[in-house]
Symmetry: C2
Subunit: 486 residues, 2 copies
């Protein structure tokens, strides 16, 4: 037997306890296999409190999606590997593959957009407005405190179909605006750009066609690193001419509203480029619609916004939360993207045997970062969040009343009342009341010998400690009335 560490000299005690811990970790004393008790890297459990926060956020998002008339679909968590191939550019290396156990080669979905396009092509659907809330998987470097996980939720809303320009696109931005306002996450800005404007800009700056995608992914880093670093990547690693890079540098520092669009439509070079002109024309239309929606105050046309995914073809956007201004910081600092999306008119066609296109535009809410913010806020506040909806605890003050409690709780359940009881034959009244305090149950229905004789139940209101005798046949109604605000 080892001596209790507390009886030894502190330093020795420390060493002994270290050694004992190592021994325990090695599992030497029992010869038992020791499990590593953890969730996989980059994943987490949601306990009841986290679920309560999660359900609040989902409720706000789903009610917005439904307000805009969306249907809902769901797809499998894995897809044929080839379904995902060639859709994500440089990010493909982050896809989780399943082990080849015989049969089809499968991968976990990387987003909800590619499965949606596969679903449309497979079912020959050319017209749908749907949302989809589900987990997606990326073998990325997790940064869990900032809400970056390997398993995380996406909340997607997409409009598929051939429509008049920019009407669905404007609705997607309206949705982002509604959700971020509703969740009260603080100030935000929605950056907007267009792949055609980017491509046109690259062309007039002298970027060779073959380098469009890779230069685009350099531009995409501008929200994290300064221009000088991006420029040296373009010139050094990617072999772009310094002149072209500098030319790009002038454009990507521009951001504004309708005035900037008008200015660029007059730009001697950009206005000569067909793609850029189309993109700018549509951007102008988009801003007109956003003005009618009354949300241009939070929208910024930003030429540095690129977004990495290969499949975008038109408008792209990204919403970022702005740090609350502290001590007169000049400009609010971005603390990260919480929503993004854009138009992808070619993706469905990649799945159609005849290449038939279905134009699509959609938005994805990055809910994990939102969870993090809501969780931090809840912790900072004194609010005690309930994790059950129980209306009444069925209790007894005396012994030998288990049968009576079982009979009463069964009546309550059958009447639709949310009820609990302690799983003890003879629980103490104090423990039963304490359970209500701990879990926020507002009412206690107490059965006792006398009450049974009188045909009543004693109803105790936990908050006020008030007690009233209620006739048994009126109990359900009384509980309903007293908890109607729940």
């Amino acid at each position: 037997l080892s001596p209790a560490p507390s009886l030894l000299h502190p330093q020795i005690a420390k060493e002994v306890s270290k050694l004992l811990e190592m021994k325990a970790q090695l599992g030497a004393d029992e010869g038992k296999h020791k499990f590593v008790l953890k969730t996989p890297k980059g994943t987490r459990d949601f306990g009841p409190k986290e679920m309560a926060v999660r359900e609040r956020a989902f409720k706000a998002i789903i009610s917005c999606f439904k307000r805009h008339g969306a249907e809902v679909i769901d797809t499998p968590v894995f897809e044929l590997k080839e379904t995902l191939t060639g859709k994500y550019g440089e990010d493909s290396k982050l896809i989780y593959d399943l082990k080849d156990q015989g049969g089809e080669l499968l991968s976990l979905r990387y987003d909800l957009t590619v499965p949606f396009a596969r679903y449309l092509a497979m079912n020959k659907i050319t017209n749908i407005k749907r949302y989809h809330i589900a987990k997606v998987y990326r073998r990325d470097n997790p940064a869990m405190t900032r809400g970056r996980y390997r398993e995380f939720y996406q909340c997607d809303f997409d409009i598929a179909g051939q429509f008049d320009p920019m009407i669905p696109d404007a609705e997607c931005l309206k949705i982002v605006h509604e959700i971020l306002s509703d969740l009260q996450l603080g100030d935000f800005v929605i950056k907007v750009n267009d792949r055609r404007i980017l491509d046109g800009m690259f062309a007039v700056c002298g970027v060779p066609d073959s380098k469009f995608r890779t230069i685009c992914s350099s531009v995409d880093k501008l929200d994290k690193v300064p221009w000088e670093e991006v420029r040296s990547e373009m010139v050094g690693e990617k072999g772009l001419s310094p002149e072209a890079a500098d030319h790009i540098g002038e454009y990507v520092q521009l951001h504004g509203g309708l005035d900037l669009i008008e200015q660029l439509l007059q730009d001697p070079k950009l206005s000569q480029n067909k793609l850029a002109k189309e993109g700018l024309g549509d951007m102008k239309l988009l801003f007109e619609y956003l003005t009618l929606f009354g949300i241009t105050g939070k929208i910024s046309f930003d030429l540095s916004l690129a977004r990495g995914l290969d499949y975008y073809t038109g408008v792209i956007f990204e919403a970022v939360l702005l740090q609350q201004e502290k001590e007169h910081v000049e400009e609010p600092v971005s603390i990260g993207s919480v929503a993004g999306g854009g138009r992808y008119d070619g993706l469905v066609g990649m799945f159609d045997p005849k290449g038939r296109k279905v134009p699509c535009v959609g938005v994805s809410i990055g809910i994990e970062r939102i969870f993090s913010i809501l969780e931090q806020r809840l912790e900072a506040s004194e609010e005690k969040i309930r994790t059950t909806e129980t209306q009444v605890l069925v209790a007894s003050a005396q012994k030998k009343l288990l049968e009576e409690r079982l009979k009463l709780i069964s009546e309550l359940w059958d009447a639709g009342i949310k009820a609990e009881m302690l799983y003890k034959k003879n629980p103490k009244l104090l423990n039963q009341l304490q359970y209500c305090e701990d879990t926020g149950i507002p009412l206690v229905a107490i059965v006792g010998e006398q009450e049974l004789k009188d045909g009543v139940v004693k109803l105790r209101i936990v908050a006020t400690r008030e007690e009233v005798n209620v006739r048994r046949e009126s109990l359900v109604e009384e509980i309903r009335i007293r908890t109607s605000q729940c």
Copy 2:
């Protein structure tokens, strides 16, 4: 160019079109890669209609779980491979592994019970009542028409903690009873047995200890194959003595209620076995509690119920739907299990470094088979199921009113009204009304030149074709009143 098949002799035309189809499948004409457009084997998409059915079923189940005071948790879709190892007996071969891409070895969860036990041990929780609804994965032979998939939902409710005997167990059976009654799936029976009674029975029948588990999994087949076949597996494949097998055969044909329990408590052999006696004593207590709940009519103590999973230690149960009686069939036939569960007092201890046990009992609702039944029923009925909740379509009767529609719909969204519009600059009124008919939108808010001048909106009730002019400032309230039943 190939000649159009219709111009050729029918037989030749048929052959030509076959060849063209083969050519298309080979992707010869375009050099493009042809995708196989499907979901992985044993999985399916849920379209909007299937989702509507799914959400109805979930609603009934979740409201029952909440009525019984459950919290909710969620865990990752994959676990460390070693977390799942040694928990599922012969079924372990059905686990999906992820590819080793560097880092941890992972597997998709096979059920929600093992992740729950891992969660309890990891967080040192000794007391919780929770539900968990999520997809699980089994590389089984799919039989999709009968609702057997490789990716499928489980709806689990479990009670963990050290409590007085059979109170939580009885509640689990009450929950199954409530859910199956609520969903109106037709007649059902909940079979109940106990692992200790099975093990005691094996012992008194002369089954060697080492053969308990494998003989148990033979007994488990009795709901699908006749006793003679099970007997020959026991004797032929598993090397059990014919006498022992025959002895088991006598027991496993017994089923009944309290009377059978009393009879077996007097059985000269069983009553001498400590395990069996314990099990029968608890079964008696369970039936007393179920009598207080008023549900013994649907409960059958059935000695042939075994359940395959390794982790059960006490009460086990399984609910099966009974075929509706047709033309005086003598006894209703089982058409499949829709819920199951039991007590597993050792599982959490397998994860605890010190082997500390947390007794658990739980139930899992097999929702996929329930979806199948509800879907078939919906198809058979004439009921038209709505897949959106849109209250009003914002429409116009004349051209050039896109801006006015956008302004009005934005007002409605901001007031919380569920509203849609067609994404056309100048849609025809007929198309707009047709869209309402197709999707079940009950109201149309029509803007026109005259209405704009008068400060009103024409509100059309789709069902009655009635039209009323509503002052613009009263529109939101009017829509709310007219759709309050939605």
